[in-house]
Symmetry: D2
Subunit: 382 residues, 4 copies
C-alpha cells in the first residue's frame, strides 16, 4: 500500500507535540513527511525542515508558502493531508485555508479559539468535503474504545455519574519565562486562548468523557483558579456537569497538582455497573458489574470488542502506550483519506477518530466553562 504523503505545519525545533505526531505516524509506516512549514519563525522553519530531511523545494518558511506550493503541484506530487501542530492560535487560519483548498486536515486540539471560528471551519470543510481529524489522542487507546463500547451496548445500564480528572503538576511553579517554550505558549492568552488548564487538558477530559459515554452536557458550573502568582490564565479548574439524560458529572483539570505527571482518569457509573480507566496505566480497564466481582479487562486480552481489538498491535501483556494510541488516530485518518480517494464509504470500524464536531464541542466547552467561572449564576446552559 502506498504511503500517504503529508506536510506538517509547526512542530519544529523545541516543539513537543510535533515530534509525537511524527513518531506516531512512523509507527505504522503508512505516512511519509514530504513537506512542511515547521515554525512561524522562517529561519527556524527551514532549519527544522532540513533536519527532518525535507527536500529544499518542499521546505517552507511559512504555512502560506507551503499551501501555495502544494496547490501549484500536480496531484500526483501533492500532499495527501496536512498535520497542524502549532500553538492553538494558528489552528484556525491554517486549518481553514487547507480545508478550503480541499486538502485533508489533521489538527491538534483545542480546535480553534471561538465557536464562531469553529462554525466557519465546519462550513469551509463542508464545502470541500475534506477529511478533518482533531487529535484528541487519548481516545485512541484500545481500552477507551472498549469502554465506549460497553457504555453504548448497555453493559453499564443507564449512566448516572461521570467523574473525569486530568491532573498535572508541571506548572506548580512559574515555569513560563524560564525558557520552557511549552509553558510559555500554553500560559499565554494570545496563543493558548481564553483558558489555561481547562483548555489545554480540560478539553481532553471533556472529549474523553463525551467519547466514552456519548452523553451531552446540558449545563455546567465551573470554578477556575490561578494559583501561581504572575500566571495569566487559569491553572486549576473544577466543573460540575449536568447531562441531558439526567446524569451528573464532575470534570477536574489542574496543572498545579504537584506530584502528578499526566494523570488523566475517568470513572463512569451506571445503574448496572461502572468502569474506571487511567491513562498512566492504559492497558487495564476496570469493570465492576453491579453485585459481582470487579473484572480487569486488558488490552488485547479476553472479552474485548472488535474496535478495541483492532486498535491493539501487540499481544496482551506486551504493553502499548501513548504513541500507539496516537497512532491509532492516524490509522483511522489513513482509512478515511483512502476511502475518500476511492470514493467509497468507510467500512465498519474504519475511520475511528475525533472529527470537527468533537473539536467544535470542545471549543464550546472551553467557552462555557470560562463564562461560568466568571458568572454568579450557578448553571450556565451549554
Amino acid at each position: 500500500m502506498e504511503k500517504l504523503r503529508y506536510a506538517m505545519v509547526g512542530g519544529g525545533r523545541g516543539a513537543f507535540i510535533g515530534g509525537v505526531h511524527r513518531q506516531a505516524m512512523a509507527l505504522d509506516g503508512q505516512m511519509q513527511l514530504v513537506a512542511g512549514a515547521l515554525s512561524s519563525n522562517p529561519d527556524k522553519a527551514l532549519a527544522s525542515g532540513r533536519e527532518l530531511g525535507l527536500a529544499d523545494d518542499r521546505n517552507h518558511p511559512s504555512w502560506q508558502a507551503l499551501l501555495d506550493d502544494e496547490l501549484r503541484r500536480p496531484a500526483a506530487e501533492r500532499i495527501d493531508f496536512v498535520s497542524i501542530v502549532t500553538p492553538n492560535h494558528l489552528h484556525y487560519p491554517v486549518a481553514r485555508a487547507f480545508a478550503a483548498a480541499g486538502i485533508d486536515v489533521v489538527c491538534d486540539k483545542p480546535l480553534v479559539h471561538t465557536s464562531e471560528q469553529a462554525r466557519d471551519l465546519i462550513a469551509a470543510a463542508g464545502k470541500t468535503g475534506v477529511v478533518f481529524a482533531v487529535t484528541y489522542n487519548y481516545t485512541g487507546y484500545p481500552l477507551v474504545r472498549q469502554a465506549r463500547h460497553m457504555v453504548a451496548s448497555g453493559q453499564l445500564g443507564e449512566i448516572r455519574k461521570v467523574v473525569v480528572e486530568y491532573h498535572q503538576g508541571w506548572l506548580s511553579t512559574l515555569l513560563e519565562g524560564t525558557g520552557n517554550p511549552q509553558a510559555d505558549w500554553r500560559t499565554d492568552p494570545a496563543r493558548s486562548g481564553i483558558a489555561g488548564s481547562i483548555g489545554d487538558i480540560g478539553s481532553h477530559a471533556e472529549n474523553l468523557a463525551a467519547t466514552i459515554t456519548g452523553l451531552e452536557i446540558e449545563a455546567l458550573c465551573a470554578d477556575l483558579a490561578t494559583f501561581v502568582p504572575g500566571r495569566r490564565l487559569d491553572d486549576d479548574g473544577s466543573v460540575l456537569l449536568r447531562y441531558r439524560n439526567g446524569a451528573r458529572g464532575v470534570l477536574l483539570a489542574s496543572q498545579i497538582a504537584a506530584g502528578c505527571e499526566n494523570d488523566l482518569r475517568i470513572r463512569v457509573f451506571g445503574s448496572q455497573g461502572s468502569l474506571s480507566w487511567r491513562q498512566e496505566d492504559p492497558n487495564r480497564l476496570l469493570h465492576a458489574p453491579l453485585d459481582a466481582p470487579q473484572r480487569i479487562l486488558t488490552r488485547n486480552g479476553p472479552s474485548l470488542c472488535p474496535a478495541a481489538l483492532k486498535a491493539a498491535r501487540l499481544p496482551a501483556g506486551h504493553p502499548e502506550a501513548f504513541l500507539e494510541a496516537f497512532a491509532n488516530l492516524y490509522a483511522g485518518v489513513a482509512e478515511a483519506i483512502r476511502a475518500r480517494r476511492e470514493g467509497r464509504p468507510l467500512a465498519p470500524l474504519e475511520g475511528d477518530f475525533p472529527r470537527l464536531a468533537d473539536g467544535a464541542r470542545g471549543v464550546r466547552f472551553i467557552e462555557r466553562t470560562v463564562e461560568s467561572a466568571r458568572s454568579e449564576v450557578k448553571w450556565v446552559l451549554y
Copy 2:
C-alpha cells in the same frame, strides 16, 4: 489500669455500627459495657442487652430510663461515659441529656440535625465540661494523622487544592423497603435528616478534609441528585469548595457508585507537594514532593510523626484497618476521660479525637450543601 465503664444507647440487634463501636473498644481492653438502652423498641432493647450480658438492673428499655438509673447510682458504680450509636435523629436529645447531666459522651456522626441543635448542645456541654467525642472514625487511621502532620508542618507548602471523595455503590438499587434496616433509616428524612449521601458519607469526607488540612470552607456550590426512583433523599452529591486561604476543593459523595465498596479517598495538593490516601488501602500514604520521586509512607514504617506512630499497634507490614482506626478514637477518649477525672490537662498527643466543634461544623456543612443544591446562586457562604 481500671477499665472505664460505659453504657450504650442504640446498637441492638440488627444494627451495624453499634457492634463496630463495641469491637473497637474491646480491642484495647480499656472499656467495659455495663449498661445500655440498646434500641428504641423496648423489647428489642432488653433482649439485645441480655445477649450482650448486661445485668438486668442495668439493661433498660429506653435511654431515659438508663439516664435516670445512672443518676441514682453512687459515683463508684456509675458509668464513665455513654456511647450513642442510634440513628441520627436521636443523637440530639440523648447527647444533650447526658451531657447536661455531666456524663461524658461519645456520639456518632452526623452530630445532630440542625446547627441550632448543635449550638444548644455545645452550650449544654460547656456548662458541665464533659468530654464529648464525635466518631468521625476515619480520622483515627494512623496515616491520616501523618497526613495532618505533614500539612501542619508545612511539608506540602501552601495548600491549593483538595479533592476528597467517598463512593459507595450499595444504594444503587432501592434497597430501602427490602428489609435492610441500614438502608431504611439512612434514606428516611425523619431519621437521617435533610440529606442522604451527603449526610451519611459526605460528612465523613468533609471531616477528613478538615482534619487533614485544617482549612476552613468559605463558600460552597453543590449539586445533589436522587437517581433511584422512589428514594426520598439524595443518593449522589458533588460540591465545589472555596477555602478561606484561597484553596479550592471538590467533595464527592455518592451511594450509587456501582462497584464501589467504601471508597473514601483524599488528595491534597500544595505548592511543595501532594498527599494521597485511600481508606480501602489504609496502610499506605503517598507523598509526592515537588520535583522528587513519590514516596510511600507506611503505617509504623520509617519517617512517621509521633501521632501516627502512637496510633499504630502492629509492626509495619502487619496491616491494621477499620476497627483499629475506630479504636484509636476511643483510646483518645479514654485519655481525655481519665485526665478529666484526675483534673489534669491532656498531655501532648493525648485526646486525639473529633469533638463537638467538628460535629457542629459537619452539621453546618450538610445544611449549607442542601441549601446550595436548592439555590440558583452559585456560591453559598459557609
Copy 3:
C-alpha cells in the same frame, strides 16, 4: 454466652506476639485472661501479670506453677485453655504438660523443635483428646479461606505450580545484640531451633500453601544462606518443591529483603486458572480464570464461599486485617472448645484453625529444608 477463661504462658513485657494474641481474643469478646505465667523470668512474669490485671493467686512465676495451680482448682474455676506464646524452645514442654493434663491448648508456631517432639505431643494430646490449635495466623484471613475453597472445589482445575513467598527486611543488619528481644531469640539456635528465616517465616509460607492447595510435598531442594556477618542462623532461604500430584512449587523466605515489611504472598496456578493473594493487601484476592478477564474478589464482597463470609466481620470496603485474621483462629478454637465441653461434634464451618497435624508437618518442613540445604543430593524426600 459465657466467656472462656484462659491462661497465657509467655507474652510478658517486651514480647511482641503475646499482645497480639490478647488483642485478637479481645476483639470478639469470647475470652477472658484469668491466669498466666508471662515470662520465663519470674520477676518479669509477675510484674507483667500485674500489669494485665491478673489476680495475685493466678499470676505465676513459672508455667509449672501455673499448671500445678490450675490442677488444684475446682473445674468451675479452672481455665478453659492455655495460650502458649513463648519463644519456640518452650512450646514443647509447656504444650505437652498442659495437653497431657487435659487442658486445651493454643500454641504458637513452629510447633516444636523436632519431629520426634511433634510425634510425642500428638500422642499425648491424643490420649486426653484436647483441642489443640497452632496459630498459623495467616490462614485466618477470609480470602485465604476463599482461596482454599476455590482450589478444593476445582475452580482452578488441577494445580500445577505454587509460588509462595515471605519477604521481610527487618534483619538486614545485625539487629540481634542491639537490645531488640525479637531479633535476639529468633536468631538464637537454642531458642529458635535449627532454622532462622525458614523456621520463623518459611513455616508460615509452607502452611499457607498447604492450607490453600491441600497438596502434599513429596521432595524438596533448598538453599539457605546467612548474609549478615555474625548471624547464627539462616536469614534467607529458597526452596524448590515437588508435590505428590506432580505440581511444582517454589517457597521463598527471607528476612534480609531490604524494603519489605511483612510481604507474604502466594500464587497458585492450575490448569483452569490462577489465584494471587498478598498478606499486606489482604482484602483482595485475584482470580484469573483461563481465557477470561481477571476478577478481584473482595472480603465480604460478592461470590464468596460460606467459610470466607463467616470469617468477615465488617461490610466489604471496611478493611479488616491482621488482628481480625488472628481472631478468626481463636473464634474457631472457641467453637471447638465449646463443642468438646458439650460433647458434640463440630458443625459445618466450625473449628476452622490449624491443628497438631499442621504443626507437625511444619516441623518436618523445617527439618527437611535444613537437611536439604546441607546436602549435595538434589532432592530430599519429604
Copy 4:
C-alpha cells in the same frame, strides 16, 4: 542523518516478532528496510517482501540468495546491517554467514542452540569486527537502565538476593498443532532448541538479572516440568542460582501460568535497599532504601541517571512501553554502526544494547539449566 539500510531474515506473514522489530525501527526513523528473505518458505518469502514494499531485485527466496546479492552490490547500495528474526535454529547459520561477510548483525534471542555455536560465532564476528546485537529487548526499558545504574553505583549496597520471574499463561493448553505458528515452533525441539519455556522466556529473565545486577552465576539447580500432555519441551521451570559474589537468586519461567500475560518481574535485594520492576507496568521502578520510605521512580521523572533519561522519548506520565524499549536497542545499534563506519569509538551512553557475550551467556544458561534438570547432583557449575 541518512537512514541505515537493513535487510530482514525471517519475519514474514504469520510471524510475530519480525513485525515488532520493524515497528520498533520505524519509531525513530533511523532505519529503512531495503532487502529481505522473509521466510524459509520461498513463496512466502517473496509474497511477504512484496507486501512490505521491497523492490523485486532485493526480495529474496532465501537468506543465502540475499547474502549473495548483497555481496555483489557496490558498497553504496549495500545494506548496513541484517536483522535476523527467524525461529531459533536459523540464528546460527544466518548470523555466522553475515558476520563472516563483514555485515553488521542484529539477531533475536536465544542466540544459538549450543555454546559451541556461540564460540564459533564469536570467533567469526571477531575476525570481521562487525557490530553484533542480540535483542534481549527488555533491557531497552529506561527504568531497567536506571536499575542497572543504581546497582552499579552502589545505591543498593552489596547485592544479596535476586528474584526474577517470567510468567505467561498462553501455553496452558496444547496450543501447538491448533494452527498457532508461534506455539508450533516454540515447542518444537528442532526449531526452538533443547528448552521450551526456559529458553523462550527464561533466557530473557537471565539476561534481565545479569544486565541489572552484573552478577555472574557460579552454579545453578533447576527443576523443569512439562505439564501439558503431548508437549515436547518444558513449559515450566524454577532455578536456584548461586552467584560468584555470594548472592543467591531464584529464576522462574513458566508458560502454563494461567492468567498471566507477559509477567516479567525482577526484585533485587541489597544490603542497603532493594529494587522492584515489572514489565507490564514499565514506567515505574520501586526503590526501597534501607530504613526509609519506598520511592517510586518514574520514566523521565526526577532523579534518573543519564542512561535512563536518554532512553525516554516522552515526558513523564505519557507512558512508553514495549515498542519504545525495543526501539532503544536499535537506537544503540544505529550508534554503534555509525561509529564503526566513521572509525570512531562509541561515546559515553552510546551503543547500549546486549552483545554477543550476552547471547553466549544466555546459551550457556539454557544448557546448564537443562543439564541440571536432568541431574541428581544438586549444583551444576556454570
